[in-house]
């Protein structure tokens, strides 16, 4: 899928809501964290993500093809994960008073990211036939 700005944001929000929530529900007991914390982290990825997508859209303008290779979608996990961790650690994420252990956060964040990325790179096209031709827009 080669995104347009609104498609980026819509795809991120919908996939985090459906795929991200499912993964969070499964991973939370495994990393011995509270649902309140992990879902707050998930919400953080979604909210901050809108800002990140604006930045990615800007960077994409420097590409002749106006595309966003799959690898970028995977590697952007690094800055996004780091920023969210810094905010958690500084106590700046609403409803999370104490940051979860780093390992628990890293496992949860990576699992969500990988699952969303994998679904966006293929299976998403099965129910949503027109999604890839509309720059990732669902609405």
């Amino acid at each position: 899928m080669v995104p347009v700005l609104s498609g980026r944001i819509q795809t991120r929000l919908v996939l985090l809501l459906i795929v991200g929530s499912a993964v969070t529900a499964v991973v939370t007991p495994l990393v011995v964290a509270g649902y309140r914390t992990t879902f707050a982290v998930l919400a953080g990825v979604a909210v901050l993500g809108v800002g990140w997508e604006l930045l990615y859209h800007l960077l994409m303008q420097f590409r002749w093809e106006k595309d966003w290779p799959s690898l970028f979608g995977l590697l952007t996990a690094v800055p996004e994960g780091l920023l969210l961790w810094l905010l958690l650690d500084a106590g700046l994420v609403p409803t999370v008073d104490t940051a979860p252990p780093l390992a628990a956060y890293a496992i949860h964040f990576t699992a969500v990211w990988l699952a969303v990325w994998l679904v966006a790179n293929g299976p998403m096209r099965v129910p949503f036939l027109r999604w890839r031709f509309r720059g990732g827009r669902l609405a």
């Binding site: 899928m1 080669v2 995104p3 347009v4 106006k66 690898l71 096209r125 099965v126 890839r132």
Partner: protein, 512 residues
């Protein structure tokens, strides 16, 4: 001899030729047998195939669709063109991994299928690294045909195929269309048959090839069709001759076919230890990144403009697709110009071969416009090339035209008739003007609609028409429009998923 009389009778009459809109009785008077079917698609190549694929998956039964075609398999013409332009079965084509004419979802992609089939992660790792760490992964042409054969059987394509040469489409009084077909000789009682349908789809492919004017002049003047060849026609004899005797080949053009021809010449040189020399003439010689501003710069160098696919990737679904959809007239033409131009992918293997050629002094590329080609006294061909450094004479034993110039759409009989009598017009690039949903503007007939996809529609609201994915985008737009008009169902998430499962298990699409 009643049969002969019928054959004479079942032909186009002057009254039919003169009338732009045909009442039923006018066709009956001519003695042309009429077949009723809700939808016909004319062409029978990959364009027809992908539309039929969507429509069958959308629930249209085989009885409601007829494919009028002079070829036996949808990939037949494509197979011929790729073979002669130096892409045999095991070679890979210039097409994205998820552009699959046999799979409307593009999932699994060709790379995933190949990984599964060959039990290797290599294609997936390649796709992950593209286009930064690796060239774009592209499918083997043989695999493309095999998967299309499977889908063709799954949707019952052969049941819908009617062989013959389409002659014209005319609007019918009262709505819909007549499509006149000339069946293969001696297969029917009349010379022509007509299909009366509410909907018509035209996917007739490239109207024809055009030679560079100087090469056309040479061929006509000297009757020499062996030393001046077009890359899109069979020219194997050139490669064979070079194996028996060293020679110089002039390559003209800067697109993917020029790259392929160079690869063949260079591969042969390496494989058989040949002494072939290559002179490459670019009309536009690109020396580096080019474009109007920082946000619109395409890579280039050594003569070539580099691009993964024939358009920037976002025309098939990203912001260029969205932008183009809003443009009309001169603005649209300007945008086509900005992102157009001949280009080729920057593949590592080709780069290496050209570097070796330049270092070894046997590959030379330059800018030039050829004014004339003449035979020299020693039996070679001399081209008069006007370039930045003045006019010079360049000798060669063979000239391969890789420019891929296309003929005007009016060279195609059906399209010419449609322009003259069917209400169709031209877009800013001179091809058929279509709506965003690929209905040909000006051709509506009652509650019927006439659509077109493929190369004939280049210049419309969607640019990538003459590509696998472009044909699918066009077909989906048409299928959705047809569903709005009550033909087939709109493919929503549930139907889409259920049909995908059937595809995955190789189960046939049901009738209705």
């Amino acid at each position: 001899m009643p049969e002969l009389e019928l054959r004479d009778r079942g032909d186009l009459t002057q009254a039919l030729l003169d009338n732009e809109i045909w009442p039923d009785d006018l066709v009956a008077e001519a003695g042309i047998p009429v077949h009723d079917v809700p939808l016909v698609t004319v062409g029978g190549g990959i364009g027809s195939f992908v539309l039929v694929d969507y429509l069958r998956i959308a629930g249209a039964p085989t009885a409601d669709i007829r494919v009028l075609s002079n070829i036996d398999h949808p990939w037949q013409t494509y197979e011929y063109l790729t073979r002669v332009s130096q892409i045999p079965g095991p070679e890979r084509i210039r097409s994205d991994s998820s552009s699959r004419p046999d799979n409307i979802w593009g999932f699994p992609s060709y790379a995933l299928s190949e990984a599964w089939r060959e039990r290797t992660l290599r294609p997936l790792a390649h796709v992950l690294g593209e286009p930064i760490f690796a060239d774009y992964w592209t499918p083997r042409v043989g695999d493309v045909f095999k998967s299309m054969a499977r889908e063709s059987a799954r949707i019952g394509y052969p049941k819908m195929l009617v062989k013959g040469v389409a002659r014209m489409v005319r609007r019918r009084a009262g709505g819909g269309y007549f499509t006149v077909l000339t069946p293969p000789a001696a297969t029917g009682p009349t010379k022509r048959v007509a299909y009366r349908s509410r909907f018509v789809h035209l996917a007739v492919g490239y109207p024809g090839l055009r030679f560079l004017p100087d090469l056309q002049e040479f061929r006509e003047k000297y009757g020499d069709f062996t030393r001046v060849v077009n890359a899109y026609e069979s020219h194997e004899h050139v490669y064979e001759a070079l194996r028996t005797r060293p020679g110089t080949v002039m390559v003209r053009g800067g697109g993917i076919v020029a790259s392929r021809v160079l690869q063949r010449l260079m591969d042969d040189r390496e494989r058989y230890g040949l002494q072939t020399k290559i002179v490459h003439i670019f009309r536009t010689f690109v020396t580096g990144a080019h474009g109007p501003h920082l946000w619109s710069r395409r890579k280039g160098g050594d003569g070539w403009a580099y691009q993964g696919f024939n358009y920037p990737k976002s025309v098939w679904g990203g912001q260029l697709k969205a932008k183009m959809r809003r443009l009309d007239g001169a603005e649209r033409a300007a945008e086509y110009k900005r992102m157009g131009g001949t280009n080729t992918p920057k593949r590592r293997r080709w780069q290496q071969q050209m570097r070796d050629g330049r270092d070894g002094g046997w590959y030379e590329a330059s800018q030039g416009i050829v004014e004339r080609v003449e035979p020299a006294a020693d039996g070679t061909l001399v081209s008069l090339v006007a370039g930045d450094a003045g006019t010079r004479k360049v000798g060669a034993d063979y000239i391969i035209d890789c420019t891929g110039l296309e003929a005007d759409i009016a060279e195609h009989r059906v399209l010419a008739d449609l322009l003259a009598h069917g209400g169709a017009g031209r877009n800013p690039l001179g091809r058929l003007e279509v709506e965003r949903h690929f209905e040909v503007k000006g051709t509506a007939s009652g509650d019927g609609a006439l659509y077109a996809t493929g190369a004939a529609t280049l210049g419309g609201y969607f640019p990538g028409v003459d590509t696998f994915l472009g044909l699918q985008i066009g077909a989906l737009e048409i299928a959705d429009d047809l569903a709005r008009r009550g033909f087939g169902r709109r493919i929503g998430p549930v139907r889409s998923t259920a049909q995908w499962v059937r595809w995955a298990f190789g189960r046939p699409v049901r009738e209705g």
